[in-house]
Symmetry: C2
Subunit: 164 residues, 2 copies
């Protein structure tokens, strides 16, 4: 069950990568400053697109590493351009591809402790995945999509779902 989430995460990271390629092409075709999208937010105190993408990858690598009982790879949040965000997505997918079924032996009951807003939260692997990590992963992925939709990028639900 747990190892089956790795292909799902990779699938949705690929979908996000394809969406960002469309956004970059859209900027080039319409002579839009990429920053107009990369720095776009749905509200002034929400994170901009680039941070939503960084956070999507953070939850993806966090899920893979924590359920596998490995240290979570640390990626500094320095990406400014579409190309740099693509590199971060690629790096995250490469990390997930190193994980094998045997890494997830005992994942459901593995104790997982994380800090949220300075408070330690304790989960089993199963609780962490279902009740914390997946809701966050899809939150940031959807918000990245919504920022681009709100800014007129011609994408649809099939792009979000990564349908061919």
């Amino acid at each position: 069950m747990f190892d089956s989430y790795v292909p799902v995460l990779i699938h949705f990271l690929k979908a996000l990568s394809a969406i960002l390629k469309k956004a970059e092409s859209h900027c080039a075709a319409r002579k839009i400053d990429p920053e107009a999208l990369l720095g776009a937010r749905l509200y002034p105190d929400m994170y901009p697109l680039r941070r939503q993408v960084q956070l999507t990858t953070d939850f993806a690598k966090g899920i893979g590493a924590r359920l596998a009982g490995l240290p979570v790879p640390s990626y500094p949040d320095v990406e400014m351009s579409f190309a740099e965000l693509q590199a971060r997505l690629a790096k995250t997918m490469e990390f997930l591809c190193t994980l094998t079924k045997s890494h997830f032996d005992g994942a459901e009951t593995r104790p997982i402790a994380i800090k949220v807003a300075g408070q330690e939260m304790n989960f089993s692997g199963g609780e962490y995945l279902a009740g914390f990590a997946l809701p966050n992963f899809y939150f940031h992925l959807t918000t990245a999509y919504n920022i681009l939709r709100h800014n007129g990028l011609e994408i649809g639900k099939g792009d979000y779902m990564g349908r061919p």
Copy 2:
């Protein structure tokens, strides 16, 4: 594993219910026509708030019923007001509360067929949950949240996550 998703779905439906209560109170306090939020969209060809809420409940009841091998309860999409959306959320949670652990025996491999845009898609229960239903459930939940955030409702990530 599978039955553990029922409490998670109920948790996030409760969180959405609390967010909608804040939205309704906000309308009352600021003398805002509730339709200004219920009909709000992030882009003209996206669904408005009320439809995002309906779809969130559709995926929640779909997950519960399909993994339990039961018929999916059919709710007509007639809700116009906050009160009616709250009733739909309550009805969905009541349905999920009728499901017990034994309903999910064999859920991982249960064959599930659904139609998406006129095309039949076939999954095992495990694939349906991880690769299709959860990404959709959180998509519509997050989009409901984003519509309200974009319209200035004072909510934050803790509201989305249903943190006390």
